[in-house]
Assembly symmetry: C2
Homo-oligomer: 431 residues x 2
């Protein structure tokens, strides 16, 4: 069999005869010429069929080819600076594998619901292709960062017996006569893991049964959560900062082409450099009020508040020391200012809001017991978690980064639904 080559490697075969296997992305016809735009999942290339060069059967095959039909073509690679990708294929033979029925997605505008119903086909469009390649790059950058910095991957369980932050937004399932809940965060599991491995992370799907229908919410989303023993809030902010710079740098290095397809303005990404501004909650509230937004003191920051804050900076901004009351029970209070939690939220620029939430954990046994009681949580469910404080407790901290919101920001998408191959939302469980 002849040399089957992928389009993204075609530059190595200039002047050679090769075989491409793929799908027809576009077709134009001018007299004795057919221009076949081909895609094979690795890229796009234009193939040229010139009638005198091919048999009548091949030229007829070109006529028959519909959009998204699958085919195998044989041809010679030519360099052509004007062509998509810089190369062109002079086609000698076309073998049809499957003639596609009338393809439902056309370059014309489709409604979002229609595209979402056809998500399995929509993936073939160049925009979705670019987004998901960037998603892959981001995920790989995340893992590579922790893998090369001495972190051990400790997958957190999906089935959990108790709730991390209340039960109202949990998905529940029967578990052989018991109730199990789908995880909302691996953090509680990362803490004992950090006491065993020093530096750990988990990366997996997490679930939230929220009825909110916003551009930031999915019911199923991926989260990466590092946790480090002997790290405090300052160290946590250093880590978050270094990590985000790494991610953005990697996308800029390796996904220029895809960012171009998305027409992403690169300036805001290029300014994601250390140091990020670190502002106290009180300062953040001041910005919110100055922006003319109504704000009740002591509240958590809402989406419009976050947008107002992030607009003041050219890079991600870290807001630390929220009122302890609006944060989870496991956060450590600031010894200098006990009403505040040693926590940090990182807000993405350009109005994308919170992409990281984290902080230092309460490491004192009795204080944590008191907090569990104060929050009316069942003590028995947390005995194992308290063990981390019983047996060699140490200061420790960590955070969680939401992948989909990060993809939305880096790609500058209007909605998270395009950031994951098969999004799950309120009223959206298919395909």
């Amino acid at each position: 069999m002849k040399n089957h080559v992928y389009i993204n490697e075609i530059g190595k075969f200039v002047g050679q005869e090769i075989v491409l296997k793929g799908w027809l992305y576009n077709k134009t016809h001018k007299g004795k010429l057919y221009f076949l735009m081909l895609r094979d999942g690795s890229g796009l290339i234009q193939g040229v069929v010139f009638k005198p060069d091919v048999t009548d059967a091949v030229f007829e095959a070109c006529e028959k080819l519909t959009l998204e039909s699958s085919l195998m073509v044989t041809g010679t690679v030519r360099e052509d600076k004007r062509a998509v990708g810089g190369y062109e294929l002079q086609i000698k033979d076309v073998q049809i594998i499957n003639i596609a029925g009338e393809y439902p997605i056309s370059p014309k505008e489709h409604g979002v619901e229609f595209l979402m119903d056809n998500r399995h086909l929509w993936l073939r469009s160049s925009r979705q292709f670019a987004i998901l390649k960037i998603r892959h790059e981001i995920i790989k950058a995340c893992r590579d960062y922790f893998d090369s910095n001495g972190f051990v991957l400790i997958d957190a369980p999906i089935f959990t017996p108790a709730a991390c932050e209340g039960t109202s937004t949990l998905f529940e399932t029967e578990y052989f006569g018991e109730k199990a809940y789908l995880t909302q965060s691996g953090q509680l599991y990362m803490e004992p893991a950090a006491a065993a491995f020093g530096k750990v992370y988990c990366f997996g799907p997490t679930f939230r049964a929220e009825k909110s229908k916003t551009r930031r919410h999915l019911t199923e989303f991926w989260m990466i959560e590092p946790e480090v023993a002997f790290m405090d809030l300052d160290g946590d902010m250093d880590l978050a900062e270094d990590f985000l710079v790494h991610i953005v740098t990697r996308v800029l290095e390796n996904r220029q082409e895809e960012l171009k397809i998305l027409e992403r303005d690169l300036k805001p990404l290029e300014s994601v450099k250390k140091p990020f501004p670190r502002i106290h909650y009180d300062e953040a509230v001041k910005i919110v009020k100055e922006a003319g937004l109504e704000f009740i003191d002591g509240n958590d920051l809402g989406a419009p508040d976050e947008t107002a804050i992030s607009e003041k900076f050219d890079r991600p901004v870290m807001v630390h020391r929220y009122p302890a009351e609006v944060k989870a029970f496991y956060m450590k209070n600031d010894p200098q200012d006990p009403g505040r939690a040693l926590c940090v939220d990182v807000l993405a620029p350009e109005g994308y809001g919170e992409i990281i939430g984290g902080g230092q954990r309460e490491d004192d046994y009795q204080t944590l017991v008191n907090k569990i009681q104060k929050h009316n949580l069942p003590m028995s469910a947390f005995e194992w978690y308290l063990d981390v404080r019983r047996y060699g407790s140490v200061p420790h901290a960590g955070f969680g980064l939401g992948i989909e919101r990060t993809v939305a920001w880096i790609c500058k998408l209007p909605h998270v639904r395009e950031t994951i191959p098969f999004p799950r939302m309120l009223h959206r469980l298919t395909p």
Copy 2:
């Protein structure tokens, strides 16, 4: 602050004074000497406290230290070939962070249920440490393999509307008034993704509500599933073979120390080289019968059958072309022998059974429609899946590798429960 160093980097600091932060793993006392075995998650090192070298307070601190207490020590690094890890720390100062209560896990034998109840602490033992470091290496090797071979990561959804292979072993959840099921495989989603991206993979948790209590079953386990357009069964076997050799080679290269802790015999791993034997189902059945096992012709291979087959070979064995009736509806039938499926199971050596299942998918629209009908599956649930055959169908194939079984095999563990940080099984939902 003095130089905080991790134990696995300590060789760079010979002769220097450094700070270690960690936990007391073991302690012995001889007259004017304390030997403190320290762990910090990156390794173990022995620290020596010599009374004349330290203040009385430091020597008293050593007395107070209980197992798993957390501490910070300052000392000078010395090379010592006889020592664990090759280095020793001459301790000058000890700062206690937290005195641990009586640690429940001791070197004495504990029952499995006790250890599983204390999984969050059990992780600190050297054996669990070694296993989970190898798990991490395997997962990284899997991802690196596909990432560096042109595959695009396409995360499959966890919530699915319909069943892939029957509903009896599915976990179910309420999804805003609908029923959703937790995925058992991402394959159906990988097929349209392969038609978009050519070569794809997904890697995530999958779920099976099986009541079986065997050494091979978890209710929640991780699976990596590649899918490739224009690949047939032979190509699928080539891929599986190359992939497994890559994984084993990486573990041998990077995890010698951990394999040693597990006292793993390396010979069987070192013989995992290409080519793997590829045997027809009929030949496999012959081996089963020759081994004296009862076998009903046409049945699927059970665990004892797989063990008998794998024992005949020194490396993974690929069994192909099972009767179509025992395999899933989406498998393509062999055109040369229509009663057989173009499928392959890869059986691990040393009795570990199936670690990979895969094959070529049915790519003909009408044949697939007939199969869905024959299996009494609701056609409407598969319309999107049929679209892959309607719009540019191509031959395609893939497989799924179960991570936990692979870890069990490579580490040679008696049970999969030790292969995942927080195992979920029948009657096991905590910690």
